[in-house]
Symmetry: C2
Subunit: 174 residues, 2 copies
DNA sequence: CAGTACGTTCGGTAAATACAGAATTAAATG
DNA sequence: CATTTAATTCTGTATTTACCGAACGTACTG
């Protein structure tokens, strides 16, 4: 490989790692999550933990835990080759899976609030004090919003992104 | 107010604060963000910083900064009464605004990656090395995915949640 | 049933963060 | 224009977190 080529590749790696780190930080994850995601994202063939140690400089332990996290987030897949003890990793590039990974974070957030709202409503209904009616109203209204939001997300999962866009563009609706 | 009534109200507050704190932690924010959001969420009338100091026990400085954050996140609105220096806060309960707040986080994440992918592609195209073609393909594919995701979100913003549900339920599509 | 080659867990530490309290700024009122 | 009353910014500190390296577990291999 010529120098320029290597340079271009490293440039790209820098861009991607940077974006992944920023994205990770916003989502409340550590830098390592971002760095590792960025590295894996550009990996064209399965990459081992040792490779990751070498390219990122992180210790095996931090790589281990953060790769587990990335796996449960659905951003990375673990390749297990029979007859090879080494795990290897590839990025998840399947559009549907990626989309699910994004939407899942939102779903969790919504569900969390929804549960609290539901039990809150129940508590207030059981208490049955007219003075708390206004509070109950507020809660019911939020509940219906979040319930609808949850429903919308569930419905979205029925379509792939292209279908979704077509639908939203209103090919049949206005 | 009778004791039972107060109890119900505090119970509800506990549920909501808990959910908000969890949600905040997942999103990478501090507990204070969650606590404050929870308190404001249940506020039926505008609530001042002093009130928040009293009910949460946080110092004015942490309340100040965290309320600013909640405001920019679109979860809380600041009420400015002419002739009163005190700020007061109300929860954002408007469904559209709430939805936008949720979707915005996703949008930022997508946009971040998209920008990096775009400049990466450009870098690779400019470099023009056949050996990097595979990498370029990968990037282009990710790019199209994230671009579509962004587009889908933009389109979603044209509808309110009810319309969205109706559309997704497939009044015209299966 | 050692020995090896992995991944994971655990304990310690350096760095980052959340928060309190003091100092500061800004606006309104006498 | 001083005083009062509010929010914000700044600075120090206690807590938390990220990370490393060592110890440990586990599954092949001779």
């Amino acid at each position: 490989m010529r120098d320029h080529e290597v340079f271009a590749e490293e440039q790209v790696r820098e861009y991607m790692i940077n974006a992944c780190v920023q994205s990770a930080r916003i989502a409340g994850y550590s830098d390592a999550v971002g760095v590792l995601r960025g590295v894996i994202m550009l990996a064209l063939e399965p990459i081992s933990m040792d490779d990751l140690v070498e390219t990122t400089g992180y210790s095996k332990s931090t790589i281990s835990s953060n790769m587990n996290l990335l796996e449960t987030l659905g951003l990375v897949m673990r390749i297990v080759t029979p007859g090879d003890k080494k795990y290897r990793y590839l990025p998840v590039t399947d559009a549907d899976t990626l989309r699910r990974a994004i939407m899942n974070r939102v779903k969790v957030e919504i569900h969390l609030l929804l549960q609290a709202l539901e039990i809150s409503e129940k508590t207030l209904v059981d208490a049955n004090f007219p003075e708390l009616e206004a509070l109950q109203d507020r809660i019911v209204r939020m509940e219906t919003f979040y319930r609808k939001a949850e429903q919308a997300i569930d419905l979205m999962e029925r379509y792939d992104t292209d279908q979704l866009i077509a639908l939203l563009k209103g090919s049949c609706n206005d």
